[in-house]
Amino acid sequence: MVMITQSALDAVADIPDGATVLIGGFGPAGQPVELIEALVETGTRDLTVVNNNAGNGDVGLAALIGAGRVRKVICSFPRQHDSHQFDEKYRAGEIELELVPQGNLAERIRAAGAGIGGFFTPTGYGTPLAEGKEVREIDGRHYVLELPIRADYALVKAHRADEVGNLTYRKTARNFGPIMATAATTTIVQVHEVVPTGAMDPEVVVTPGIYVDRLVVVPTATTPEPEEDQ
């Protein structure tokens, strides 16, 4: 059942040191900046963070990394022109990096939410990112075995929620939110607004409320300026 919290700080207050946290967003779009900055405020340490990137500029995920709270990043594209917070920590040997091809990252998160124990993917076969992993030829094609990425918490930014936690997203800000919401023990979502139950068309729900544990309304959420990079 969904709890609507009064502030981002309330929503993330119990995330303990050492937690694994899925953080939504592809670069700035869909990044739950207010939830992440609340996490900076709580002082939680030794986090393992799963995100497509490793922070942009000095807000949100970049601020969390800059504050030294992240022990390990699992992501596909850490190096960006404005990823200086990560770059410094990485070069100083203060942060661990697990690099995962973007589609495998998405599928591993989905697998965790879907109760799949592992899957054979063609992506990465024959490359350094498959080294040490089991490979198999199936029906004439080569595959690599990849395992699920589960987490203790997911921080997600959606657009609209109803009171039972059904979610819709906006445009390409949808990205990792729907799969991350399924893969964490506790899913915390910031939304632009909460509408009454019954006010959302059941056909257009993207994330059913069963996946949502806590909601916080952030009407004027920060989206960092988009800038070029993969």
Binding site: F26, F77, R79, G103, T123, G124, P128, K171, N175, I179
Partner: protein, 228 residues
């Protein structure tokens, strides 16, 4: 299964192609109605040369089909960006989907063509385009490996040689691989190459040259070539 035609006979053009000309050449080879992903950087230019009535639909792997041109001014919406994180627009008939669905679309072979840049491509179509392998470089792969192996055809756009004159079309890649046997065509400033991904006799077919003769090209490139 390739959705593109294997064309025609060898031709020689008088001058090297500029980036815009190369983009136009690639665009001309994209069939009407194709679903296409254009990689970051030079491949993005291809969209400028697609005829408006071509019915070509652009995919961006961060979760959209029907991507329109870059957004400017009041059209910029921070929730609507492409894989390069540049604000873009939405065309009629667009759709949005989450990352797992987007990469399933790619990995499942539903896109007709993906156009990518490259550091190196081998005669068998191995691609290296994500990492120079230099010590100290922070590795970052993004969707490169998914893009490389997902589409029915993967086209590479690149200059044929590095700044110090080394051919990027090689017998075997020395840079870390992005994908194995995935490239079907290479569009460069001086030639267009067709790769036989089944292996064949190990030679690469040259469809056309620009500003060099076939023999000059043979001298530049360390793999056996033959005319289309």
């Amino acid at each position: 299964m390739s959705s593109v035609q294997t064309p025609s006979t060898f031709t020689e053009g008088p001058t090297r192609l500029g980036k815009a000309e190369l983009a136009a050449l690639v665009a001309a080879d994209i069939p009407d109605g194709a679903f296409v992903n254009l990689g970051i950087g030079q491949p993005t230019l291809v969209s400028n040369y697609l005829a408006p009535d071509s019915g070509v639909t652009l995919h961006t792997e961060n979760g959209m089909l029907g991507m329109g041109p870059e957004a400017h001014g009041d059209d910029v919406d921070p929730d609507l960006i492409n894989a390069g994180k540049i604000p873009v627009t939405e065309l009629p008939g667009a759709s949005y989907f989450h990352h797992a669905d987007s990469f399933a679309m790619m990995r499942g072979g539903h896109l007709d063509i993906c156009v990518l840049g490259a550091y190196q491509v081998s005669a068998r179509g191995d691609l290296a385009n994500w990492h120079t392998g230099e010590p100290g470089a922070i590795p970052a792969v993004g969707g490169a490996m998914d893009l490389a192996i997902g589409a029915k055809d993967t086209f590479v756009m690149m200059t044929l040689t590095t700044r110090d004159g080394q051919s990027k079309l090689v017998e075997a890649c020395t840079y870390p691989l992005t994908g194995v046997g995935c490239v079907s065509r290479i569009y460069t400033d001086v030639a267009v190459f067709l790769i036989d991904r089944e292996g064949g006799d190990g030679s690469v077919v040259v469809r056309e040259t620009h500003g060099v003769s076939f023999e000059e090209l043979e001298a530049l490139v360390p793999v056996p070539l033959r005319r289309a």
